[in-house]
Symmetry: C2
Subunit: 419 residues, 2 copies
């Protein structure tokens, strides 16, 4: 095992300095580097300016082993990350034939002419490695010198992420030495601080594997990362920690697969048990059905959803009785229950989830404040309704309500159709 490798991330783009876009690349790259066991001490954002970018790269090379730059590999005159990096490393640029062919092929497939400026993207610094870009024309570049590595990646996340996953992750993993393996334990329905308290002792005792908590909306993800000589050995190191986490969190763990989202876990539960789902939404306005439709192939189990924002729509589409709406109000346990049962009947679905609440900013009262949300879930006619009081603004309340609905659906299926 070699010494700790220090990485630094430089994001290039004037649009970042103008606040035009949020730097999601830096966060994503940092998370990947953390998973690889690299230490990151600085992220820098610099504009499309040769002098300042050059200086930032020089500073980074002085204090870090690996510098990852993203952005500025485009075809325009503004894009000068490759030119600047080549200058700092003392390399000339030459036309790299495979990259040139890739660009030709890319435009041929799109049946489009090749703008003259795009050839610039096929230029590569001497003795550098080109990294294939399956989603665009700019190749990635790896330049090594005297134990230091500079990695250039395209700025668009749709190009950067797949390129990193396919080529850079394993390159860096080799650089770190040994093999890195990680598993993500995804927990739902337990708050961030409670979940962290439940694993505080494991986090404090960590060396290898490490455990890092990541808080998401209504979820906590624990990433366990092991470094070992082989993949098998790394898995062996992780295994007892997985067992311990299952002992502590039980069925609150909905997956240990990085690629499985909460909506995907719900989809898989429905499919395995041969159930169909429909939704009836008021304050979430279609966001719950949109979450379900995030899952490719969901049409097997999810065919329809209803957005019933007004009382009239709740009556007409879901058959909620006017008397009930008048007596208890649209935001009530009774209405949520009637919405779920009405939706199940209208859609002929086995499972139905209904959400009704006050997302604000207006509309709250002392008795029914902003953030009050009722969620009902019926499974073949048996309904469970929960009352929530969410904090935050309109956006946050709705997002939390949608996650909570998915968690309730999962719970109701487990309760009625076995674990």
């Amino acid at each position: 095992m070699k010494h700790a490798v220090i990485v630094e991330i430089i994001s290039v783009g004037t649009e970042l300095l103008l606040g035009n876009i949020v730097n999601t690349n830096a966060a994503w790259l940092s998370e990947q580097c953390a998973a690889l066991g690299l230490s990151c001490f600085y992220q820098t954002v610099v504009g499309d300016n040769e002098e300042r970018l050059g200086r930032a790269l020089e500073t980074a090379l002085e204090r870090s082993d690996v510098v990852i730059l993203s952005g500025g590999l485009g075809p325009t005159a503004d894009d000068l990350t490759k030119e600047t990096a080549a200058g700092v490393m003392g390399r000339r640029l030459y036309m790299h034939e495979p990259s040139r062919k890739h660009i030709e092929e890319y435009f041929r497939k799109k049946q489009a002419g090749i703008p003259d400026s795009n050839w610039k993207q096929a230029m590569l610094p001497e003795k550098a490695v080109a990294v294939e870009n399956e989603n665009g024309t700019a190749p990635g570049v790896i330049i090594e010198e005297e134990g230091k590595t500079v990695i250039l990646l395209p700025g668009p996340p749709g190009e950067l992420i797949p390129m990193f996953q396919k080529s850079i992750f394993s390159y860096l993993s080799d650089r770190v030495g040994g093999t890195i393996h990680s598993r993500t334990v995804k927990i739902c329905g337990i708050g961030e601080s409670k979940a962290e308290a439940m694993v505080r002792d494991m986090i404090d005792a960590q060396t290898n594997p490490t455990i890092a908590p990541y808080a998401k909306s209504c979820e906590v993800h624990l990433r366990i990362t092991a470094r070992a000589e082989s993949r098998e050995r790394a898995k062996e190191l992780i295994s007892p920690l997985l067992d311990e986490l299952y002992r502590r969190f039980g069925e609150s763990i909905y997956t240990t697969e990085e690629g499985v989202t909460l909506e995907r876990a719900v989809y898989e539960l429905l499919r395995e048990r041969g159930l169909t789902l429909c939704t009836a939404e008021s304050c979430t306005g279609g966001r719950l059905s949109a979450r379900m439709i995030n899952v490719p192939g969901v049409s097997e189990v999810f065919q329809s959803g209803y957005v019933t924002y007004s009382d009239q729509a709740k009556e007409k589409i879901l058959g909620v009785s006017g008397r009930l709406l008048e007596e208890y109000g649209a935001v009530s346990e009774q209405t949520a229950e009637a919405m779920a049962l009405g939706a199940a009947a209208a859609a002929g679905a086995d499972v139905a989830a209904a959400v009704t609440g006050i997302a604000g900013p207006g509309g709250g009262t002392a008795e029914k404040p902003v953030g009050l949300v009722y969620i009902a879930c019926s499974v073949r006619g048996r309904v469970r309704t929960e009352r929530y009081h969410f904090q935050g603004d309109r956006e946050k309340i709705r997002e939390t309500a949608v996650s909570s609905a998915l968690i309730l659906i999962r719970q109701c299926i487990l309760d009625s159709h076995g674990r």
Copy 2:
């Protein structure tokens, strides 16, 4: 008018370096600084580490006039931004009575005891200005020295944003000299590169006011910022540019108000013309209705939406004929049109928008590739249907489809009910 002021943003927090959270503060602060006419050349992220933070601040002070640091003002031992800044500026810390009282008051209102560690937040560097924090216990801090300014802000956006808006914006505006006024011209339905080409001459010729383009999904925002001795004079400077932009972009400009979103513009059009809207969605799965429900008060004009993901749901809920689905397929002009008319009839709405397409990653064919989307909009029985071929992944295709639907709804209302 003074010379251009250079600002630099340092975000402090190990959670940023681990990729645990995305640096939205830096983007928000940068946008504010751009609106103030400040030039930002670097953003830096550094962990809760005294040595590295100190070095980052020293470097920033060498090359910038104003350094804004956010984060690390909390009560824990990890939080050392104030201590480090005081050290770099050669100031001692003392107990600042008004801040101490504010903390007492804050916890008294919450009816909670004051943790011992919180007193640390009332310590202030000598000769610094404390900035009141209405949403937390950590005051902001302004330190001036030899023409340089260091501003410390709390990390939570719910504290940072209101503090900046209430106190820091006007402080920086004075620092820049004169008054800053800005207007945002929001353009829909014209691509980023086309819109930029249409104003390239105005951007190149800019001095005061400045024009900055911001690309959003299916929208381009042009922010015009004027600096003048008075607010009135700044408005006068902006006025001819607004006129010129209206001449060039006409009704593609949907608002010149910062706070008005595209969905809000659609809502206002519907309300002014006394129309109601409903939605029928397949590939967007409820995201279009969710966008509309972003607007508080939308229930006046939007009462229901249908998510019909399967053919069966399209038949049963929207009355699309099985023969039509079989002959043309679910993703077709004919189906989109039938969905819109069916939804209008089912909901009794004046306007109906329907979206059907192939969001991928699977399901595409040579004839109907991934990204093919049909959007239909009916206004009192008259339907217009458009065919789109969107680029990107499942997420991007659906987001673009939703924005395109809002633009089409707006266009159809303007066409049928006047400008």
